[in-house]
């Protein structure tokens, strides 16, 4: 049967490398092989969105992608959002507007919201709700999350924030 293969990729700006079986899911590779446990595993079949990360700048679910498929790609996880001890403006907005309760969906929410705001820099509330329907919050604390994304939109439009 197939043995481990090398996977080289860039995560949060840093080149990383690991070895895994071809069947290993990207989210498990991030967590188990690279020790990046910020990305959460929820449903494991592409429904809940907790494992959402950025792949080459675009949000994708890391539980329905193989680690080998990420070879050569640039990944951003929740660990890559804060810089120099300062939260990303979207994280600030989540804190300010009570955009999290238990926090389990938060990493996926943040990355999905970042991609959404890049594609829709000045969204209406209904666009935000449609965009955020990609991630489930089982605390059902959506109102705070919607408020946070609404508040973050003008901040992200106004400044140079990476990613």
């Amino acid at each position: 049967m197939p043995g481990p293969v090398a996977v080289r990729l860039t995560i949060n700006g840093t080149p990383r490398e690991g070895r895994c079986e071809p069947r290993k899911l990207l989210v498990d590779f991030l967590r188990e092989d690279l020790g990046l446990t910020g990305t959460h595993v929820g449903c494991e079949h592409g429904i809940c969105g907790a494992c959402t990360i950025l792949v080459n700048g675009e949000a994708a679910r890391s539980c329905i992608m193989l680690a080998v498929q990420a070879e050569g790609s640039e990944i951003v996880t929740v660990e890559g959002l804060a810089r120099d001890g300062r939260l990303h403006p979207l994280q600030e907005a989540f804190r300010e507007h009570h955009g999290l309760q238990c926090g389990f969906c938060t990493p996926g929410m943040l990355l999905a919201a970042l991609d959404f705001l890049r594609m829709h820099p000045d969204p209406t509330e209904s666009q935000i709700r449609e965009g955020l329907s990609a991630v489930l919050c089982r605390c059902t604390g959506y109102q705070g999350i919607v408020n946070a994304v609404k508040a973050a939109a003008p901040v992200l439009r106004g400044g140079e924030h990476r990613p």
């Binding site: 069947r23 079949h45 679910r61 990609a134």
Partner: protein, 289 residues
């Protein structure tokens, strides 16, 4: 909830992929965007000997205008379709339908060819392919053939693609300038599979409907062209009475099944309701361009 073992191949050319597929003689699965196949693997509902991953074949991702058609490489991401100016201009029905395909993070990976080859009866792209009467190109090491939707979709999750064939291209005829269109869908939550969806296209000359096209998602084992409803509109025009008659006929043309999400009767009812809504929105748009 982890995939079973498989041999993994990531060819960089279509020829190489076709060679591999032939070699495994039906024991391999083709991996496109993975938004349906990966969950099936995680649940171990499928256990292929090998995966042939098309994601490294750059030549399978493109959007081109050719002879009045828009042609899509099978690996064109749904996200690329969603934001394509060519699609917005030539196939606005497809742009509108794409917003109903899962969510943006799903569309990042999901592909137009994968969605059609998977043939989920509730999926949006098979309905659009059927409404526009487009075609797909299937290639194998033996050669190439083109298939119309009625020759492609057999039943739930089942197409006439052979085990050594790969769906390589989707061809949709550009919509006539000024055509009215709408994609209507009802799902419990945005991004869920449709309980019922309706794709509608209306081409007018003056007040006369020269072409009406209606197709379903979720209401039938395969996308269903509602030809008898189209004929009512082509004969009687787009007044409210004709729309009501076409909608009532639409509900009679489908043979839905009951499942955990909705009963067959409810789906039949929705088919009529959404057909009327789609036609009214299409009527309001007709002549816009």
């Amino acid at each position: 909830m982890k995939p079973p073992r498989f041999e993994y191949h990531a060819p960089t050319t279509t020829e190489e992929a076709l060679g591999l597929l032939a070699r495994y003689g039906g024991e391999a699965k083709v991996l496109a965007g993975g938004q349906s196949l990966m969950p099936l693997l995680n649940f171990r509902l499928v256990r292929p000997a090998a995966l042939i991953d098309l994601n490294r074949i750059a030549a399978l991702a493109y959007i081109r205008e050719v002879d009045g058609q828009v042609r899509f490489g099978a690996m064109t991401r749904q996200r690329a379709v969603e934001f394509s100016p060519v699609v917005r201009q030539r196939l606005p029905l497809l742009t509108e339908a794409t917003r109903w395909v899962g969510h943006l993070p799903i569309r990042t990976r999901g592909t137009i060819g994968g969605s059609i080859a998977h043939a989920d009866p509730a999926a949006e792209y098979p309905a659009v392919l059927t409404a526009l009467d487009g075609e797909v190109v299937a290639r194998s090491a033996r050669g190439e053939r083109t298939l119309r939707p009625r020759d492609l979709f057999q039943t739930y999750l089942t197409t006439t693609l052979e085990s050594d064939e790969i769906l390589t291209e989707v061809r949709l005829p550009a919509m006539p300038a000024g055509a009215g269109y709408a994609f209507e869908e009802f799902a419990r939550r945005h991004g869920d599979f449709a309980i019922v969806g309706i794709a509608a296209l209306i081409a007018l000359e003056g007040r006369r409907v020269v072409r009406a096209r209606l197709a379903t998602a979720g209401a039938h084992p395969v996308p269903c062209r509602l030809r008898a409803a189209e004929e009512i509109l082509e004969r009687d025009g787009l007044n409210d009475e004709a729309i009501a008659a076409a909608a009532a006929r639409a509900g009679e043309l489908v043979e839905p099944d009951s499942d955990i999400h909705a009963s067959a009767d409810y789906r039949r009812h929705l088919t009529g309701v959404l057909t009327a809504r789609a036609l009214k929105r299409a009527r309001a748009r007709a002549g816009e361009r």
